[in-house]
Structures are given as structure tokens and as C-alpha cells.
């Protein structure tokens, strides 16, 4: 009698596909930039370019989302991101509802999916979601009715794809060609969804050198697998870069086991004019906001000639219009 079992039958259920794309490979939800095809990113940036002009017109509206309802579901506080999504939706002629669902109302027992089910029963067409838990928008995208679109406006440490896209828009606006660039991302990578989305976008768009600069306590495990070069010294890391992306440092990281003080952080990692001088002469400085002046960035740089921080905000509206406009048309 044979002492070995017969070969295993086929066991694994079918791969469910990419959760943010339709069967035809079109963008249905925007959940992350990780794994997003380059042509979709480029299409979003191209579309955004057309929308930048809308803001300069007397009537700042296009009728693309007329009759559609966009629900801003913010389970975590935000002013800037929520506002730019609201402006973007309104410029597309959508009806916008803002819901700030703080943690206490969910702790009363209603689950994320129950909240979403109730809101989708109110004929929502699009959810813009921010949540403290990584992956929360995936859960919504997986369980929402088929006509509904989900845009991730920031989930935990995981992703902030519209921020990543507006950063790419900004870089393209100033630098044109991604394939010749050196880009540095500086600061708290570990807790930053912006950093993750930026890194994925930069590598997808063909940036040959993405550098990550920060103290070891603020860099995640396995960072090399993101396709980046890691630096633990800001002067070395900034040498010759074309773009500097500074990250916001949350106050609660201070005086903890991760960082001793804001003073020491600025001394080691803050962006000063002297340090910026190590970068390429025409380097641009970016920041997702809100800035902590004197912690990660000095005012002389933040308000200096190389700073494009306020332009990022303007471009952000056009990029969010582009994302909403594109996914609203993809119902396959």
C-alpha cells in the first residue's frame, strides 16, 4: 500500500482581482497607489491638467457629476483634505454631504459597515473616506452596492492616494520628466500614509532614485522592498536631489520612545536653507500640510522661493476633481 497521499486537488478559490479596478481594468475605486497601473496615474494627471483651468474661469463649475451625491465620511479629523474634496465635488456640480463621524459614535456600537449601509441607503454615489484603521476603505469597497465608488482620503498608516497623486502632479508641473529625477522623502515614514503613496507613485512613474531620510525609529521594517535608498543623515540624503518632500511629524511622537524632543528633531532632520542648498539649485520643496514650522521645516524654507507647498493645495483640487470624474464614469 502506498505510503504517500494522492496529489492534492485544486484548493485555492479564484483570485478575486484588484479591488480598485473593474473587470476591464478601469478605475472603480481609488484605494491605493500601490499596484495602480502607470497609464491610470498618467490619465488622472492629464485630466487634472484640464481641470486646473476651471478654477480660473468666472463660473468655476463643470456639470460632470450633476445629480450625483458625494458623501465625505471622515472618521478622523481633517479640515484641509475634507475641504478640498468638498470644493472638488462642488466644482463638478455634485451634491456634497460632510459627515464627521468621530470615534465616539462608532464606539456606541455601530460598525463601519452599518454606518456605510445607512448612508448608501440615502442614495450616495460616492464615499470619500478617511479612517484611522489601515484598510478600512477596502472593507467599504468590498461591501458597498455596485454603483457606489469609494475614494480613500487617508487610512491609518496605509495610503493617501489623492495626496500622492497631487504630489505627482506638482512634480510633473515643475520638473516635466519623472525619469531623470532624484526625489527625497524626509521624516516620519513609519506612520505616514503620504510617504507610502508618494513612494509607490514615484517608483511607478519611473523615478530612478527615490531616497528616504529619517531616524531608524521612524522607518518601517523592510523599507528596501519599496525600491528606495535609505539614508540616516539628512545632509547626505539631500545631496543633488531635485525634489524634497517633507513629512508632517505628529506631536504625539515627541517625548516618546521614538523621539526625545522637537528641538533635537529639528536639529537633526529639519529642513533649513543650509541643508536645502545641498540639493540641486532648482530643487522644489513640498509638504502635505499642515506644517509644524520649526519642527520638520524652517520658515525660511517653507516660505522661500523653492517652496511649492501652496501650489500643492491648488493642484489638489484639480487632481481630486479628476479622480472623481474618472471613477464616476467607470461602472463596469
Amino acid at each position: 500500500m502506498s505510503n504517500i497521499w494522492p496529489p492534492a486537488p485544486t484548493l485555492r478559490p479564484g483570485f478575486k482581482g484588484n479591488p480598485q479596478l473593474t473587470k476591464n481594468g478601469e478605475l472603480k475605486h481609488l484605494l491605493t497607489i500601490d499596484g495602480l497601473p502607470r497609464d491610470i496615474i498618467t490619465h488622472i494627471l492629464d485630466t487634472a491638467q484640464q481641470f486646473v483651468g476651471v478654477a480660473e474661469r468666472e463660473v468655476k463649475k463643470v456639470p460632470l457629476l450633476r445629480g450625483k451625491s458625494v458623501f465625505n465620511l471622515f472618521f478622523e479629523n481633517s479640515t484641509r483634505t475634507r475641504t478640498t474634496f468638498e470644493i472638488a465635488a462642488k466644482r463638478l456640480s455634485a451634491d456634497v454631504l460632510n459627515l464627521n463621524i468621530n470615534a465616539s459614535s462608532t464606539s456606541k456600537g455601530e460598525s463601519l459597515l452599518d454606518t456605510a449601509a445607512n448612508l448608501s441607503a440615502m442614495q450616495a454615489d460616492m464615499f470619500v473616506v478617511r479612517h484611522a484603521q489601515s484598510g478600512a476603505p477596502y472593507l467599504l469597497a468590498q461591501h458597498c452596492p455596485p454603483h457606489l465608488h469609494v475614494i480613500n482620503a487617508g487610512d491609518g498608516w496605509h495610503a493617501h492616494p489623492t495626496q500622492g497623486l497631487l504630489d505627482m502632479y506638482t512634480i510633473r508641473h515643475y520638473k516635466r520628466d519623472f525619469t531623470q529625477l532624484k526625489v527625497a522623502v524626509v521624516g516620519d515614514i513609519l506612520h505616514s500614509r503620504v510617504a507610502r503613496s508618494d513612494i509607490h507613485a514615484l517608483t511607478t512613474l519611473g523615478v530612478p532614485e527615490v531616497r528616504v531620510i529619517g531616524p531608524r525609529t521612524l522607518l518601517p521594517n523592510g523599507l528596501e522592498q519599496f525600491g528606495v535608498r535609505v539614508f540616516h543623515n539628512i545632509c547626505e540624503g539631500l545631496k543633488g536631489v531635485d525634489v524634497v518632500i517633507m513629512l508632517r511629524l505628529q506631536n504625539e511622537r515627541m517625548n516618546s520612545t521614538l523621539l526625545p524632543s522637537a528641538q533635537e528633531y529639528f536639529k537633526s532632520w529639519g529642513l533649513t536653507p543650509e541643508r536645502l542648498a545641498l540639493a540641486a539649485p532648482d530643487a522644489i520643496v513640498m509638504h502635505p500640510g499642515p506644517m509644524n514650522r520649526g519642527v520638520e521645516i524652517g520658515s525660511a524654507v517653507a516660505d522661500g522661493a523653492q517652496s511649492v507647498i501652496l501650489h500643492q493645495v491648488t493642484f489638489g483640487i484639480a487632481v481630486r476633481m479628476a479622480v472623481m470624474g474618472i471613477i464616476a464614469g467607470n461602472n463596469g
Partner: protein, 427 residues
């Protein structure tokens, strides 16, 4: 009652026996293999043609959720699940509500289990009062009530001095202490294995060092106290290496892995699939390979189901908020066979990990087809397959990452003490 099991293929992993023969059972014990004992009067005959007759499975960890979590599962539902999975003996951890830290609670559980007349339940008593890791429990009283060892379940033991004293006290009476090797501080808030995947998904990681540092502490305390320890649910290659060395040193150490960790890795989490949330978290491909190797070389004694019924509401949450664990009693046999098939492991060796080896951990004489051993048996069809679907599970917990899998072998009957306690209904 005398039972005659005809024409089955008997497999006894303890001896390597694998032969087609009849089995005779009298007074709840195995009376003879092959030939009927003299003057044997048959009261019941079971035709086991085409089936494998194996000692009933012994599961080193299954949560029954009683007392306290009856909304997740009841003793009735989970004991039925055990039988449907061919599990005839199981160890239940003390993390009930209230925890099993008083003899009365243990007696109640044993009584409830006995009245259901099903799988044998071996409770672990709480090592510390309320599992708080502060004061030790009345271990002797708890043992009299039926506890077979003492454990913190998944509750942290922050103070090494408490652990030292608990080990010393347990050793005084010769009790085994069951421990999880996970440093609570290093694992704090972690929901996935530290590494590239957790970093990409933005999930807080549980570093490998949380397992190895806890192991160093436990092993050193074993050297000091001479305690006998069973380690539950190891997960990392580095941790297994430490256990291998400790066993070679001769320390009285045994350990298990969960069947989930035998099959799955962190990449399976995919797009935040909460079905893959486990404690300890699923680790890398390298760790999974190390688990297989350690099972084959004997470093790991047993595979358990770590059966944890979790309801849908606790899984339909963002990954970091979802409850860890999965239903497992009904999958243990099929998944062990699947592992053996994939790794081309001789099945007596693979099935030992869920029969005689866990029996040895528990110091039981069951888990084998020896004359005089309890007639706890499972009869299964080696050629059948079944699709894992909620409506095919008797457990009240329907969540498992294996939903939708087609798994090999199907339990047809389960026998405890010579009594036919489960027979698959024909549908």
C-alpha cells in the same frame, strides 16, 4: 457493548501500523486487532470498507466559549463540531468569562461536557487569578477539579518574577505549564508580522523578537525551576531554532503550532482580509517552511486547530479591529492531510501530529490503536473531498480563511469509548 469494525484500513501513527484489518472493541476499549477475541459477542457492526480507521484526534487547543461567550458559541455547537471533525479529545484554554481560575468553574464545565456525552474535554486552569498575571491560582484544587495543566491563554505575563514563582509552584506538584511565547510589550498593538507586508499595508507589526525574547525568558526559567512547559502556537523560524536547542539540551519542553500557521503566510492577508488575522500573526514563507521542517524532525510535537469561533460582526471590521482566530475543529484532519499531500509526508508521520503526539503531551494512553486503549476512533473516507462552506460547519463560528477551499478527506463516523457518537448524515 461490543463493537466490530469490519474491513477498515487501520492506521496507528504511534506504531506505524497501516493495514486492512478488523477491529474489536469491548467495554469501551480496544480489545483486539485482526481476529475476534475468544467468546466475543458482537452487539454492533460497522462496515468500514473504503474508510481509514484512525485513533480519534486530540486537539491541544479549542475554545468552546463557555462560560461567558455563549453568543459566539456554545458547548453544544462546538462539541458537535469536534465530533464532526473526528476530534475525540480536546484541551480548552482558561480564557473564558470568568476565566477558569476556580475549581467550581472547572467542575461545572466538566459536568456540562460530560452530560453532552461527547468529546473528552481537558480544561487548562488559569495560571494566575483572573489571568491578570499577579497572583497564582489554587493549582492543586484546580487539578483535583480536572485541570490537566495551567495556562495564561493569550493573556500577558508582564512580571517575570510571577512567572518564576508560578513555574516553581506548578513544578512542586508536577503540573505542566502551558505558555504562549510572546513578549507583550514588543507585540503591543501589533496585528500582523513585522516585515515588508505589514509595512506596505500600514499595519502595526509584531516582531519576531517578541517570540524569541519570550522564549529566552521561558527557557532560562525552565533551567532554574526544572518546570515542564508546553509552548502553544509558535510562529517563527528563529523561535523554533531556540526550541530545537532547548530540547537537545534535555529540557522537558513540548510545543505545538496551529494548522493555520502550517498553511498560511502573511502575504495571504492580501487586501486586508480579516480572515487571515491570527494571534500569533501569520509570518513569512521562510517561517512556514521552518514550521514544516520542525514538525518533521520532531521539534514541534503537535498540530492543533486553535479553534476560535468568531462571529461575522467581529470579522467584518477593518483588519486592525477585527478579532483574531478562526473555526478549526472540523478542518484539522483535512488540513493535516492536505499538508501531508503537499509536502509528500508519509501519512502515519503526519497523522501522528494530531493523534499520538498530542496524547503524549497530555500523558494520555489514547491517540493510539493499542490493546486496552480507549476506543476513541475516527472513520474517514480518504478519497472524498468537501467544499468548506458555512452551511457545512457545525461550529457556531463560520469564519475561516479556508472558506471556499476544497479539502481532502471526509469524516464519516466518530466513536468515543466504543460508542458511535457521530455519523455523517447522508444528504
Amino acid at each position: 457493548m461490543n463493537l466490530h469494525i469490519k474491513r477498515g484500513r487501520l492506521i496507528d501513527p504511534a506504531t506505524g501500523l497501516d493495514t486492512e484489518a478488523d477491529l474489536f472493541i469491548a467495554a469501551g476499549k480496544i480489545a483486539s486487532i485482526g481476529k475476534a477475541p475468544t467468546a466475543f459477542e458482537v452487539h454492533q457492526t460497522i462496515d468500514a470498507s473504503g474508510l481509514i480507521v484512525l485513533p480519534g484526534l486530540i486537539d491541544l487547543l479549542a475554545r468552546l466559549r463557555e462560560p461567558g461567550y455563549e453568543y459566539k458559541a456554545t458547548l453544544e455547537s462546538e462539541m458537535a463540531a469536534a465530533l464532526a471533525g473526528g476530534v475525540t479529545s480536546l484541551v480548552c484554554p482558561p480564557d473564558t468569562d470568568p476565566p477558569l481560575d476556580e475549581p467550581g468553574l472547572v467542575e461545572m464545565l466538566k459536568f456540562r461536557a460530560r452530560t453532552l456525552n461527547q468529546a473528552r474535554v481537558y480544561p487548562l486552569g488559569a495560571l494566575t487569578v483572573g489571568l491578570k498575571g499577579q497572583a497564582i491560582t489554587e493549582m492543586a484544587e484546580l487539578a483535583d477539579a480536572g485541570c490537566i495543566g495551567f495556562s495564561q491563554a493569550d493573556a500577558p505575563m508582564l512580571n517575570p518574577q510571577v512567572l518564576l514563582h508560578a513555574l516553581q509552584y506548578a513544578t512542586t506538584y508536577g503540573y505542566t505549564v502551558w505558555l504562549r511565547a510572546q513578549d507583550p510589550y514588543l507585540a503591543q498593538g501589533g496585528v500582523a508580522a513585522s516585515g515588508a507586508l505589514a509595512s506596505r499595508l500600514g499595519l502595526r507589526g509584531v516582531p519576531e523578537a517578541s517570540e524569541t525574547i519570550a522564549l529566552h525568558t521561558i527557557i532560562e526559567l525552565m533551567r532554574i525551576t526544572g518546570a515542564r512547559v508546553h509552548l502553544s502556537h509558535l510562529s517563527s523560524a528563529a523561535g523554533l531554532e531556540l526550541v530545537r536547542a532547548a530540547k537537545q539540551e534535555g529540557l522537558p519542553l513540548s510545543c505545538d503550532v496551529t494548522i493555520n500557521h502550517v498553511h498560511l503566510i502573511d502575504l495571504d492577508i492580501g487586501y486586508f482580509d480579516a480572515q487571515y488575522r491570527f494571534d500569533p500573526p501569520l509570518r513569512s514563507q521562510r517561517d512556514r517552511e521552518a514550521i514544516s521542517t520542525a514538525l518533521m524532525d520532531g521539534t514541534i510535537d503537535a498540530i492543533c486547530s486553535a479553534h476560535t469561533p468568531v462571529d461575522d460582526d467581529e470579522k467584518l471590521l477593518p483588519f486592525g479591529e477585527a478579532s483574531a482566530g478562526a473555526t478549526g475543529l472540523e478542518l484539522l484532519l483535512s488540513l493535516t492531510v492536505k499538508w501531508a499531500q503537499e509536502k509528500q509526508i508519509p501519512f502515519t508521520q503526519a497523522l501522528a501530529k494530531i493523534t499520538c503526539a498530542p496524547a503524549d503531551v497530555l500523558n494520555l494512553n489514547s491517540g493510539r490503536l493499542a490493546l486496552g486503549a480507549p476506543a476513541d476512533l475516527v472513520l474517514f473516507d480518504p478519497d472524498a473531498h468537501w467544499l468548506v462552506a458555512p452551511n457545512r460547519l457545525k461550529s457556531q463560528g463560520h469564519n475561516t480563511p479556508f472558506l471556499g477551499y476544497e479539502l481532502p478527506v471526509r469524516v464519516r463516523s466518530t466513536i468515543i469509548s466504543g460508542q458511535l457518537v457521530y455519523q455523517e448524515s447522508k444528504t
